[in-house]
Amino acid sequence: MVEKIKAELGAALGGVEIRETEYRERGYHLSCEASPGELLKAARFFDECGFYLAAIVCVDYREYLELVYIFANHSALCKTKVTLKLDPAKPAAPTLSAIFDCAYWHEREIREFYGVLFDGHPNLTYLFLHEGIDAYPLRKEQVLLADEDKKALGAFRPEEGEDTFFVNLGPQHPSTHGVLRVVLKMDGEYIQSAEPVLGYLHRMHEKMAENRSYLQFLPNPSRMDYLGAMSFNLGHVTAVERLCGIAVPDRANCVRVIATELNRISSHLLWLGAYLADLGALTPFLFVFDDREQINDVLEAVTGSRLTYCYFRFGGLYNDVDEAFIAGTKAFIERMRGRFGLYEKLVGGNVIFINRTRGIGVIEKERARKYAVSGPVLRGAGIAMDMRKAEPCAAYSEMDFDIPVGTRGDALDMYRVRVREMGTALDIIEQALARLPDGPVMAEKVPKKLKPPKGDLYHTVETPRGELGIYIVSDESDRPYRMKWRVPSFSNLMIFPELARGNLLADAVAILGSLDLVIPEIDR
């Protein structure tokens, strides 16, 4: 696959040098540097080959700005990095939003954080930030905003039409689970357009990462996705370990898998309860909390926290697991297996629930690719893509599990995929428990001050919500030069306006719920 893409991409671009890189070190197979015209050609080429645009990252190297485009594939592991150098005084690049829909928001983000102008982008207004910010926050040197830029960025104003009115779904609204605001343009009960407004929980984690060492940043990732905190923690430590070449003991790897999967179940359980509450049934919420409590108790005993875990350390774990943990996990597996039947009876077989979710928010495979959705949303659409299988970290490569997929891509499929995923997570935990080796849980000789070699890395982990991509640029110091978090909910929310259009308000709530969004993760 890699060879074929290299040859064909070389032919499509003509004359551009395409380098093969060491995947284990870099997280991508091919890289090339393009000019604006070549970038568009490359994007069209990848679009035709059925690739998706995983992330766009901007890095400020002082002498120049670099845009990094990561293209990846759902069916085979083949990642390509395409870079584009920009003049820092007047950065401008062509937009890819006409080819890949997911570029639409990534480019808006880069516009407000770096000041890069994307030619032909339909709506370059504030996504996270708001008026009153004078400089581009992620630039290495202070670059002030010109007045016309401020005006252009703050241009979003909802306008009421003759027969339409606006409803603000959020920021304080029961169904947005956090502080997401969606400006809905309504015609009666029907939605004409939906415009998410982000940034109510924006904390600039990416800038924070540049100002503290890798170790000091350890507690931050779990604050992004507080429901799948273990996966974010895992993503951060495995990325840094990969960058520094630290080998982790087997026991630690196995425990990492168990802890992450327990956390995944707890995240999916909370989703189940919250989703049913969105649809008007309040009882399942308390049923799932009953189950979640068991997971929290088990994890609390070894990690010391119940929600924002910081359990994994570079080279291993903070704390070894004991017999009580293993017994508690086994008891939980036993209990949970018996609960699926109950949930199926209470929820999955309910006529009202089926009528509310079947055929609602249908995501076709092609649209899923264009928007680069991931996780259960992607699998619900029928694409069997799981980072635990595609790019296994920790001990996932030794686990045998299947990937549940949906057939229609509607909200009901998302429900079924998530419920079945809880079952596969139980399988994985059982296997990991069975093969849990004895030994140390911390690698020897992990330096106190981590100074990774110069270079970059795109590292991915499967969180409960999908593909978490971490792009790290290291300059040999103990703090990252740039750390970009490509978070799954960001792409998953991006598809929402298209799904909501023309639907009833009640359906919009059902669709928003089926995407399983965690807002602090989107806002970072």
């Binding site: 009960e189 969105d278 008007g280 009640a506």
Partner: protein
């Protein structure tokens, strides 16, 4: 006392005393039902519900009522004041009037009118007016959408409600609720009219805006629907009206289908309340079990399923009675 009776006439005094009694009952009923709802919900959700205030938390509703009474009466700036103020008061009128004709026992009824059921149906249609007033007067989009939904829902479900009651009226040959109860000596109408009872019960749940038909106040979509902007005692009045409505629809179901106050051994009033609260329990049970239907599904259910079914039922009943 005798002087008052001689001046005003026995009937008037009886009505006034009855109304006061009804008022006390309404408040008492709402207190019991808020407690019951929380307790039932608690046990259905693997909790225990209120337990701190009084034995089994029985005093909890009174504590809540005192809290609500103590709250500042807020009026948002942009509201339509007359409508905003009147709506919570007006929602209470039909509720009180409906109680006047319900026979709690053979001799315990404020007034036995020969068009009793028509009074209840006519006045219960009025409650939708105050919901509309609340939604429109609040000057809030969520409230307005909630009110519009409520109007459409009430119109759609009043028809099957009436159509389900008609066969019983035909069988009892009277509009008087007391006569209908008396006609059920020996055999309850639910036995000969199971379809009508079924239709009536679904329509009644929809009329009272309860889950799975709680669209006017769907909290995940419309925050709180038509009473989003209300707080304190005004909110409590909406609350009171909702719980009283639940009791009224259950009481009508008992009167029409379940033999009213009739039953062996125990006094009539005990039987009546027992049967009514059993139905109330079922309505609460539904709320804590089902998700909410969507608006178009709700209307489809009424217009495409319940109304045709009720018509067929009515025709069959009429035909059989004629034979």
């Amino acid at each position: 006392m005798e002087k008052i009776i001689s001046i005003m006439g026995w009937e008037t005094v009886k009505t006034i005393v009855g109304l006061v009694g009804v008022l006390i009952f309404v408040v008492f009923n709402a207190l019991i039902l808020t407690w019951a709802e929380r307790k039932v919900a608690g046990h259905m959700q693997r909790r225990i519900g209120p337990k701190e205030v009084g034995p089994f938390g029985l005093i909890q509703p009174i504590a809540d009522a005192i809290k609500l009474l103590g709250k500042e009466i807020l009026t948002p700036r942009e509201v339509d004041r007359p409508l905003y103020w009147l709506a919570p008061v007006l929602i209470f009128v039909p509720v009180l009037v409906s109680f006047v004709v319900i026979p709690f026992d053979a001799s315990l009824q404020v007034r036995d009118m020969n068009a009793g059921i028509l009074v209840i149906l006519a006045f219960s249609s009025l409650s939708v007016l105050s919901i509309l007033m609340a939604g429109w007067g609040s000057n809030n989009k969520y409230a307005l959408i909630g009110a519009i939904r409520s109007v459409a829902q009430n119109i759609a479900y009043e028809i099957p409600l009436l159509l389900a009651l008609l066969p019983v009226i035909m069988m009892a040959n009277s509009f008087s609720l007391k006569a209908i109860v008396e006609a059920q000596q020996g055999l309850w109408f639910v036995v000969c009219q199971p379809i009508a009872f079924f239709i009536y019960f679904i329509a009644a749940v929809a009329e009272t805006n309860r889950t799975p038909f709680d669209l006017p106040e769907a909290e995940s979509e419309l925050v709180a629907g038509y009473h989003t902007e209300y707080s304190g005692m005004r909110f409590a009045l909406f609350f009171l009206a909702e719980y009283t409505n639940i009791f009224i629809v259950s009481a009508i179901a008992v009167t029409f289908f379940l033999g009213g106050y009739q039953g062996p051994f125990l006094p009539g009033i005990v039987w009546f309340l027992l049967k009514s609260y059993c139905l109330v329990f079922v309505i609460i049970w539904l709320r804590w079990t089902y998700p909410r239907v969507r608006f178009d599904q709700l209307l489809n259910l009424s217009w495409k399923a319940l109304i045709p079914l009720a018509f067929i039922n009515l025709l069959v009943t009429g035909g059989l009675l004629k034979l």
